[in-house]
Symmetry: C2
Subunit: 164 residues, 2 copies
DNA sequence: CAGAAAAACTTGTATCTACAACTATTGCTT
DNA sequence: AAGCAATAGTTGTAGATACAAGTTTTTCTG
């Protein structure tokens, strides 16, 4: 069997590489679309003298949390970055006055990242710009209904990707 | 009482921050799902002693190109990374023997990244592992038909995101 | 047909991220 | 209650990426 495969491969080199699959193609489309939109957003933010995209993601995530504060570990998980990386990212936001650290009374190990007024103000400024950019990127080819459908599909995929 | 006061204060503070939008939610889902799957793939590759994900993406993209080679600029655009970044990425792959640089006869400015036999072999080894991981992540919640639909949706979004 | 402008790629630098080791605190087990 | 394991977060270091400036080759223009 592998003899035959090798012989075939010798004649037709590309046959050695397994073919693409529907799920693989969907992934390729997902990753390239993601990268393209990230690029657009970063260009826009940089042109408007806003902080980089990861800062926005932190602010937007913390703002959704109760009391506008979040445990470091939970925040890292939500953003899908490492805890070490988050520590330094939050350090920068704290230094910029956009977040403050809040220490837990009942468990001295945990610390929270909490929105400051300046952080809330900046988010309020950035959000419309980000959303406008996304509208341009999405709306041309995606109705609101389609956007919701897309979100549901992706959420379910993420559900299984995280659990396993 | 104080609960109500707190709730009101919270609501008033958050009112400064513009609300979320359907497209914004779709984007959030897209970016987090992307990150989650990347994380899974990288874990798998590292556990199997394979090179990191960007190497796979380079190999897979070059392998699809005619003659299994691609101009640096086109490759950078396809991967949605900067040309400077690609130069160094390809440097590493060349040093590992997976790619070779081919210089254009008619235009001495351009250079191609071309697959070596070792690069083709490695891709042939990695692809099944990557696809298997994606099948696990996707298949649980996505039929082949749904995967194709997802790909089409994302492709059309990318089309408008890139052109503008 | 010079000489400027553009194009393709590379390089230098500074920042950011991940990975692994480390500290401090809490929970569990006997 | 003592000691070991688990949890939460930080830090040190190495590697990777973006951004901007630099080099070489090609194209355009007067």
């Amino acid at each position: 069997m592998s003899e035959q495969a090798t012989a075939t491969a010798t004649r037709e080199r590309k046959a050695k590489v397994p073919p693409r699959s529907p799920h693989g193609d969907a992934w390729e489309s997902l990753t390239r679309t993601h990268a393209a939109i990230v690029q657009r957003l970063q260009e826009m933010l940089s042109a408007a003298d806003f902080p980089p995209l990861p800062w926005y993601e932190v602010l937007a995530t913390v703002a959704e949390a109760p009391e506008e504060q979040m445990r470091m570990g939970d925040l890292a998980e939500a953003l899908v970055i490492t805890r070490g990386g988050l520590t330094k990212l939050v350090d920068r936001l704290v230094k910029a006055g956009l977040l403050k650290r809040v220490f837990c009374e009942t468990d001295r190990r945990v610390s929270y990242a909490a929105l400051t007024p300046a952080g809330r103000d900046l988010l309020a400024e950035m959000r419309p710009a980000v959303i406008a950019e996304l509208e341009v990127a999405f709306s041309a080819n995606l109705s609101v209904a389609q956007a919701n459908e897309l979100r549901q599909t992706l959420d379910s995929v993420r559900g299984s990707a995280c659990s396993a």
